[in-house]
């Protein structure tokens, strides 16, 4: 193994020299201290220091680096703003981290065609800000939208509170220029719909950097709604808030967003941002309706009535954008806010069918009580996307392990109810081990066939999404002993 390791070290030195020659010294980081800046993404519990970081300044830079990696079979990982919550941009110790955050030009705002052409490092919110004067915005709005990048959004198929009505990143990306793992530059789609051939763009979005690196992205811009009305309703408990949610959806109203927080999440938000939610609430619901004025007005009355019928003891209606922002502030800061009430916490992301919500929430409470662990619940109630925040104190012996167990049990609960192990944060490094719980071996094998078409050598973000890599070209089926890629030191098994 020593010989393999030393050969790899020599290879990397050689690669570093070639990368410098291709993209310039100033774009390359190989100083151990500076490399440490990139050791993790938004999921800080996983840390790996990359061998080399390249701060790409053009699509050509990305292509040059990927080509060099491809030639030597060296792994590469793409990273945007590094805000991902599943360790999708976790570096590879023997690989190159390609950072796209400096590629932040809005290349075109084509309002007449309702499109924007963006470099991958453009910040999500900046697109909406740039289009605002023309009466447009970019619909997908992850909570991190002030800092997360469009390239990262594409890789993760990011959602957000408003995707209940408007869909996810994949529904808003119409074209992308991509550097595939063999270093080729391919254009998928553009401003027009339905490009001829397989919908490779459709699978590229959400592939978590395992099929290539997007270097130019065309997105759909959405007309800003004429009216937006936001209501905050306080309930005694999550059951009542859940029942109100079901009735709203059942009545044929599709709000732009329906968000729920439970008592513990409210407590955290109050401590952190003083959002001044109604005192004594066991659950709050934020319901936002948008669209044509008269349409929103008619639906708003229905929503308000249902909330009252299900026991809302206080309903506030945002009078203006400032009040609306305050409603949302509590919700959008909830993840960070739990830091105020607990030294450590795990952010979970699972999905259940909406109708299973009340039952699943009760089970989460039982699981938490049994383990002596507190769980704060924040979620996109409209689409059954849960974000339980599992609180623990790492300084208390065994608590971290118990928190991990509760967190894992919540995912099992989601799978049991026909849901998903991730609604928007991605599989990444964190959940690859859960994939076989949700999918059969043949399912995963079939997904990897797609990967083999793009990346036969397995160099694009290896170790993510799939628990076991597939050797492309091999006969599918069970393997005996260590996986050949694991043996070769190219991948880690989970």
């Amino acid at each position: 193994m020593t010989t393999i390791a030393s050969r790899r070290a020599a290879d990397l030195l050689d690669l570093a020299a070639q990368v410098r020659a291709a993209v310039g010294d100033s774009a390359v980081i190989d100083d151990r201290q500076r490399l440490r800046t990139y050791e993790c993404d938004g999921l800080a519990q996983y840390k790996v220091i990359p061998a080399l970081v390249v701060l790409a300044r053009s699509s050509d830079d990305v292509q040059a680096v990927v080509r060099l990696c491809a030639r030597r079979g060296v792994p590469f990982v793409a990273r945007g703003s590094g805000t991902g919550l599943s360790g999708g941009a976790l570096p590879h110790a023997d690989g190159v981290l390609i950072v796209t955050s400096q590629l932040r030009k809005i290349l075109a705002l084509d309002i007449a065609n309702q499109r924007a052409v963006l470099q991958p490092g453009v910040i999500n919110l900046h697109v909406s800000q740039a289009a605002a004067d023309a009466g447009y915005y970019y619909a997908p709005d992850p909570s991190s939208q002030q800092v997360c990048s469009i390239g990262g959004n594409l890789a993760e198929n990011s959602g957000g509170a408003h995707c209940l009505k408007y869909g996810f990143t994949v529904n808003h990306v119409t074209g992308a220029e991509v550097i595939t793992p063999d270093g080729e530059r391919v254009q998928f789609g553009g401003k027009a719909p339905d490009p001829t051939g397989y919908d490779l763009l459709g699978v590229l979005v959400g592939s978590e950097g395992t099929l290539g690196v997007a270097t130019e992205i065309t997105v759909r811009l959405t007309r800003s709604p004429q009216a937006v009305r936001t209501l905050l309703a306080a309930f005694d408990n999550t059951d009542e808030a859940g029942a109100a949610t079901s009735q709203i959806i059942g009545a044929g109203v599709i709000p732009a967003a329906i968000e729920m927080m439970d008592a513990l999440a409210i407590e955290a938000a109050e401590a952190a941002v003083h959002c001044n939610y109604p005192a004594g609430a066991g659950a709050v619901l934020i319901v936002e309706l948008d669209g044509p004025e008269a349409e929103v007005g008619a639906q708003f009355d229905v929503v308000e009535r249902f909330c009252r019928e299900h026991g809302a003891f206080e309903i506030r209606v945002a009078a203006d954008d400032v009040e609306r922002a305050l409603f949302w502030k509590g919700r959008k800061s909830a993840f960070a806010a739990v830091g105020r009430i607990s030294p450590d916490y795990i952010v979970q992301d699972g999905v259940v069918p909406r109708t299973a919500l009340p039952h699943v929430l009760r089970r989460i409470t039982e699981l938490a009580d049994d383990a002596g662990i507190r769980v704060a619940n924040v979620f996109h109630a409209g689409d059954g996307n849960l974000h339980p925040l599992v609180l623990f104190d790492d300084s208390v012996d065994g608590e971290a392990e118990r928190a991990e167990e509760v967190s894992g049990a919540i995912l099992e609960l989601c799978i049991e109810h026909g849901g998903s192990i991730t609604g928007e944060h991605g599989v990444g490094s964190d959940k690859a081990k859960f994939m076989p719980r949700m999918f059969t071996e043949d399912d995963l094998d079939t997904m990897q066939m797609l990967r083999c078409a793009f990346d036969p050598d397995g160099i694009a973000n290896p170790g993510k999404v799939f628990p076991t890599p597939r050797l492309c070209g091999e006969v599918p089926g069970r393997h005996r002993g260590a996986h050949p890629l694991v043996q070769a030191g190219l991948a880690e098994a989970f």
Binding site: T196, I254, P353, T422, F439, M447
Partner: protein, 423 residues
């Protein structure tokens, strides 16, 4: 059309019949796919039976073509061969409809009309309304709609198949069953292979079951139709509508062979909401109706004609229409009839004329396609046109697509030759 050697093999028939409880037989003349003779026809009842069939096909290196209700089976290129036709007609069950979750799970052979009838009592629908051949009122099956990525007027407000499909079950060329996605709308676990299968024309796997997200049926819908003398004015109105606050459910154009174009604007929502929006367009002369214009549900060509799919950037419409008219005029063919989702950039066109004229129109349009930022595909055509025209045209990323095909179907037995680049 000489039958393949194994066509006469009783063992093959036995194996196929064993797979599907006896519902397999030798192919007949009427089973032919675009003139390509079929050796065997089998009618599975569920995914497991499809898997058994495809395992037999894999063992015997048989080519396989899947058939729903045959609505669009004649579209696209003819397969190079079709040893086994897998008819999904008996797989017509709605397996689960959980109204509270706005999700449905159906077998691939379920007709779209039947699916919608099942959902209607819950005041829900699958927002897919692909146009039918004139007068036929056939929208095809769940599997067929996915395989051909067929969409209609509601594409504007609800997206296409790729946006509504949330889970898929398929049988691979080697007979293995695989799933992707799931039964919840919000789900980013694993690759979304449903999107890969959408518009794959049966060349990657046989789609056996699908789950879709549903939408409530709006209490009220109204259609406003505008008569427009030329493409420039049509474009101006389209731009006005899409940048307005009308939130159209659909925006369709009909530009017939002769006479002015018509634009149909669908507004859906609550009674008060729709009335208020109609009032906003009161200054433009429009007819208001409680039902859609008949043409908006029909393709602009009849079976046996030449049917094109044209995509464009939204502002490219007038250029596209001008180039199309120029191309037909140069070829000495009548003006093409054009219809479709002008607010999306996805149109259909019906061409009349002989094979030389059709070829020349398509070739010229492709040369000029950059001017409107779209593509030209020949969906439907008589055999002689098929034989002489490249139906799919130039494709970006073709080599990557070939690699995908090689992975999923290394022996090229699934609908061989039917798709882009001979895939």
């Amino acid at each position: 059309m000489r039958p393949a050697a194994h066509a006469l093999d009783q063992q093959v028939l036995d194996a196929l019949q064993d797979s599907v409880d006896g519902r397999a037989r030798a192919g007949r003349v009427e089973d032919a796919v675009s003139g390509v003779a079929v050796d065997w026809v089998a009618e599975p009842a569920d995914t497991e039976q499809v898997a058994a069939l495809l395992t037999v096909a894999a063992q015997r290196s048989m080519s396989v073509v899947a058939r729903g209700s045959g609505t669009r089976l004649g579209w696209g290129a003819a397969p190079r061969s079709a040893n086994l036709l897998v008819s999904l007609a008996a797989m017509n069950q709605v397996l689960e409809h959980e109204a509270g979750d706005l999700v449905v799970h159906a077998q691939a052979g379920t007709r779209l009309e039947d699916l919608q009838s099942t959902l209607r009592p819950s005041n829900q629908h699958l927002a897919l309304d692909p146009p039918s051949a004139p007068g036929a009122d056939r929208r095809g099956t769940v599997g067929g709609v996915i395989a051909t990525a067929a969409s209609g007027p509601l594409r504007l407000s609800h997206g296409g198949v790729r946006d509504l499909l949330i889970g898929v079950t398929m049988v691979r060329a080697d007979g293995r069953i695989a799933h992707a996605g799931g039964k919840v709308v919000k789900n980013v676990a694993g690759y979304d292979l449903g999107k890969l299968l959408t518009g794959s024309w049966g060349t990657l796997a046989v789609i056996t079951e699908a789950r879709f997200r549903l939408h409530p049926i709006s209490p009220v819908s109204r259609w406003l139709t505008f008569s427009l003398p030329d493409a420039e004015r049509a474009n101006a109105l389209i731009q006005q509508v899409i940048h307005s606050q009308l939130c159209p459910a659909a925006l369709e154009i009909d530009r017939p062979e002769r006479g002015p174009a018509t634009l149909a604007l669908q507004l859906s929502g609550t009674e008060a909401g729709v009335e208020a929006r109609i009032a906003q367009v009161a200054d433009v002369r429009a007819e208001v109706s409680a039902s859609p214009p008949v043409w908006s549900a029909e393709l602009p060509w009849s079976p046996g004609g030449v049917g094109l799919r044209l995509t464009h950037e939204l502002t490219g419409l007038p250029v596209l229409l001008a180039e199309l008219d120029e191309a037909t005029a140069r070829a000495g063919a009548p003006r093409a009839c054009v219809r479709g989702a002008a607010g999306v950039g996805l149109l259909h066109a019906g061409l009349r004329g002989d094979v030389v004229q059709a070829g020349s129109v398509v070739a010229r349009l492709r040369e000029r396609a950059a001017a409107w930022g779209g593509e030209v595909v020949v969906l439907d055509a008589p055999a002689e046109v098929r034989a002489s025209v490249d139906l799919w045209g130039p494709v970006r990323g073709l080599s990557l697509m070939r690699r995908v095909k090689d992975q999923f179907d290394p022996e090229h037995r699934l609908a061989p030759g039917r798709f882009v680049g001979g895939i």
